[in-house]
């Protein structure tokens, strides 16, 4: 769609509409609305004449095609469907009557990226406002054309019509008559959740047929004429420097191009088999540096904390010291979390094609515009020469913010003079991507004789500040996140540190409840005023049939609750301890609330998926590393949840039509780890304060 690239080269609005083939166009200008500036607005990567500050646009062509354009990307969280539902709602049509163009830097407006559970609270309202304007414009146009009162007109099935008179016009016909661009801002109108018709109900994924037939083309599946297949030489350990590389044999292989630029050595060949063989034939020598190992990780973190300045997100009220003094019982414990890998089933992949000084890359990333900036920087070309296209991607979970694979594919393609596809191997994905940060969390607390919190001190080292605030009432508290040096490359992850912080907080709350002899549910409710947290906790406990004293030495029950990013979670878990001390999570009930529900079935699916993914980090996922090498960079060694690990899962959705919808891709993950840890304690009396739980549980049982 080269004519759409024109918009980035300075056409005015009118010309832009013409480039789209005329019709009706609504632009959303972010203006000063900070939420909306996540797309469009001041953060744009380079100067674009038009559309300046535009966050999204919606176009209806004279032929009736309805297309919404957004820079967000689909990675399995189902926003292609939920955003279509939002537009359909306002246009009073069905979600499959329209199309979304997403994550294409030449065709969609600038966007910061798809992360932080932001799409539903920010992009959905933007699309709704554009679509409601579009609807009103179409009605006005029909009313003027027929010279009738607009209030006598109705809209449905992509038509405006007048009941009784038989007057009727399709969206395309009206759009052709509109032939104009409307610009709106944050004050656009949206339909209240109570009046939704296309949203608020379950619909299948809009492109589900392509998924089940294998027709959908992920980045890994993209193919171009003359395309070569790439492979990249990797260092034996992190931070190793290449001292020599003998590529003579590789260069002689049938149709292989060898590329060397500094420490980068790669090959491109006419098939992946030749590329792999050529790569294997390269004799390289490396200068390796000593590195930190897993065994010294947590002491390393504590010793490498940036303590000279106050922790980020520090908040303090009252006096923790005084609170601890007034307590009848105090508790002080340390919790740890390991590095874990996102392990998206589709590894990083890119297809790069050069056309003179212009570069196009198809790649699965959560930040197409960020990757565009990265590519432009590496190859010293203007950003407008780079186009990044993100096909709906084989998952990300916060793991695909960066463009290293895109850069490598583009480097190979530049030298080979032909398009190159590069798919990272699973081992590369495990080793050279980034990890969810490990961390150490220190908690001290005090509680009064009647079971009320008197003091709460919480320090998170390295893992992150997300979800660090406690929802419980406590007058004396200090909560701080401390940055520290990370031995491994770290980055985003589903829910970020919210999982670690919830694990520490909710495990500690359980320990406190036991210390004062209260039921864990009763103790939490006693200290909890936040209505939304209370509601999910009570809903989960009710559905679960929260036991008073049903535990046996082989079955335990645990619960946890929390909130972050506008989502509220209450989670109950049942675990069974087998005679050989293996642990099986047998039943999970999770209550979830994130405002008005957009697509109940997809939402349940997200919550279930988060629970399953969370189980991996809770029980057994951990990156093992020593001296700059990842020791378990294979699926046979890095265990992820499989069919037999998955318990019965019941999801209770609390639909709050009176509240704006928040995202749900992340926060349903935070409750499962502490709920399971608490259940294991309930059955065995063994308290595990580290994630993953199982290795520590086995060690603690053995040493007991």
């Amino acid at each position: 769609m080269p004519q759409l690239e024109a918009v980035h080269r300075g056409l005015d609005r009118r010309a832009f509409l013409k480039s789209l083939g005329g019709g009706a166009l609504v632009l959303f200008v972010a203006g000063t609305d900070s939420d909306a500036q996540e797309s469009g607005g001041a953060h744009r990567g380079y100067r674009e004449q038009l559309p300046e500050d535009v966050a999204a646009w919606l176009h209806i062509a004279p032929n009736g095609s309805i297309i919404a354009f957004t820079g967000k990307v689909e990675v399995g969280q189902n926003i292609r469907s939920s955003l279509a539902q939002a537009v359909a709602d306002e246009l009073r049509c069905e979600a499959n009557a329209l199309r979304l163009v997403m994550g294409d830097t030449a065709r969609t407006p600038w966007d910061a990226g798809t992360f932080g559970s932001r799409t539903t609270p920010t992009m959905a309202p933007v699309l709704r406002k554009m679509a409601s304007t579009m609807r009103e414009v179409l009605i006005d146009t029909a009313a003027r054309g027929w010279n009738v009162d607009r209030n006598s007109l109705t809209i449905s099935n992509e038509c405006v019509f007048q009941k009784g008179s038989g007057k009727k016009a399709g969206f395309g016909e009206l759009a052709a008559r509109v032939d104009w661009v409307h610009t709106i801002g944050k004050d656009g109108l949206t339909t209240a959740p109570s009046d939704w018709h296309a949203a608020g109900i379950s619909t299948p994924k809009v492109n589900v047929r392509d998924i089940v037939t294998g027709e959908h083309r992920y980045s890994t599946d993209h193919k171009l004429p003359e395309m070569l297949y790439g492979a990249v030489l990797r260092a034996p350990s992190f931070a190793a420097k290449l001292t020599s590389a003998d590529t003579g044999q590789a260069a002689k292989m049938d149709g292989a191009t060898v590329v060397r630029e500094g420490d980068f050595v790669g090959v491109a060949a006419r098939d992946e088999h030749i590329a792999a063989k050529a790569l294997q034939s390269i004799q390289a020598k490396w200068d390796q540096q000593p590195q930190i190992s897993q065994s010294e990780l947590f002491s390393y973190i504590k010793q490498n904390t940036e303590s000279s300045r106050p922790g980020r997100g520090a908040r303090a009220t009252g006096s923790v010291e005084a609170g601890l003094r007034s307590a009848v019982k105090t508790l002080r414990n340390t919790y740890t979390v390991a590095y874990i890998a996102h392990t998206p089933l589709e590894p990083r992949a890119a297809v790069a094609e050069w056309n003179g000084n212009n570069l196009t890359v198809w790649t699965g990333t959560q930040r197409p515009f960020g990757v565009r900036t990265e590519l432009a920087g590496v190859f010293s070309i203007p950003e407008e020469n780079v186009r990044v296209i993100v096909p709906d991607t084989g998952s990300a979970y916060g793991g695909k913010h960066t463009g290293e694979c895109a850069v490598e594919a583009a480097r190979l393609a530049k030298h080979a003079g032909k398009p190159v596809k590069l798919i990272w191997t699973r081992e590369e994905e495990f080793t050279w991507a980034y990890f969810r940060p490990a961390g150490v969390i220190d908690v001290s607390s005090g509680v009064s004789s009647d079971g009320m919190l008197t003091a709460w001190e919480f320090h998170n080292y390295l893992s992150g500040p997300s979800g660090i605030d406690t929802p419980y009432e406590v007058a004396n508290r200090t909560i701080e996140f401390h940055e520290a040096k990370s031995p491994l490359r770290e980055g985003s992850y589903r829910g970020l540190a919210s999982t670690a912080n919830h694990f520490a907080r909710e495990s500690h709350m359980d320990e406190l409840a036991i210390t004062v002899g209260l039921d864990p549910l009763a103790f939490r409710l006693k200290n909890l005023k936040n209505d939304r947290v209370r509601a999910v906790l009570e809903a989960a406990a009710k559905r679960f049939g929260w036991p008073d004293n049903r535990r046996t030495s082989t079955t335990g029950y645990g619960l946890a609750c929390g909130t972050d990013k506008g989502g509220y979670v209450g989670c109950c878990a049942e675990v069974r301890i087998h005679p050989d001390r293996t642990v099986q999570v047998t039943r999970v009930v999770e209550a979830w609330e994130c405002g008005a529900v957009v697509n109940p079935e997809h939402l349940k699916n997200q919550v279930e998926g988060a629970i399953v993914m969370g189980l991996g980090g809770a029980l057994f996922e951990a990156i093992d590393f020593a001296n700059g090498r990842i020791l378990n960079a294979h699926l046979a060694k890095y265990r992820v949840p499989r069919f037999n690990d998955v318990p019965t899962i019941e999801v209770v959705l609390l639909d709050r039509k009176d509240l704006p919808s928040a995202g749900a891709g992340e926060i349903p993950i935070v409750g499962i780890a502490p709920a399971v840890g608490n259940a294991i304690f309930n059955a065995t009396g063994v308290r595990v304060r580290s994630m993953p739980i199982l290795p520590a549980f086995v060690a603690q049982v053995a040493s007991a």
Partner: protein, 162 residues
């Protein structure tokens, strides 16, 4: 070498050591089977060879000459989806969809052998398939639904012909 894929005969000349997955994807443009690990640990590359599920990423070309290979692209009956594909849609049994082809092919192979598998048998048969999005329970529900629908329609066909 002769390769029969989804009922179509192909003559290709490839290194016998080359894994079937890459020949399907890169030579025959059948990109439904996915690369997930290259070590037979995730099941995303699953295809049927003579009706039995195999990991195409660790299946050398040398061993498949003349055998019937079925990929996800050959599961539907023209425009009509296979009941397994239909069941995956009805159960919303995917998120990103990257594992789906392998899950469906593995499940179709299971029902060929065991038309009415128990939940345990389904989990057993699919133990080697990873869904990182965690839709496992939905996949089990989809396989059960497909199994039920297939046996029900066979029963009604049987009644109709009797």
């Amino acid at each position: 070498m002769e390769l029969v894929v989804n009922g179509k005969r192909n003559t290709i000349s490839v290194d016998p050591e080359r894994p079937l997955l890459w020949v399907l994807r890169n030579e025959l443009d059948l990109t439904g089977p996915k690369y997930g690990c290259g070590e037979g640990e995730c099941g995303a590359c699953t295809v049927m060879i003579d009706g039995v599920a195999h990991r195409s990423c660790i299946t050398p070309m040398g061993g498949v000459a003349g055998k019937e290979i079925t990929t996800i692209e050959g599961i539907a009956d023209g425009e009509r989806l296979h009941p397994m594909q239909q069941a995956f849609i009805e159960c919303d049994a995917m998120q990103c969809g990257y594992c789906t082809a392998g899950m469906i092919v593995s499940s179709v192979a299971l029902l060929r052998k065991t038309p009415a598998p128990s939940e345990t048998a389904i989990k057993e048969a699919l133990a080697g398939n990873i869904c990182r999005c965690g839709t496992y329970n939905r996949i089990v529900a989809a396989v059960r639904r497909a199994s039920h629908n297939i046996t029900a329609s066979e029963r009604s066909e049987h009644h109709a012909s009797a």
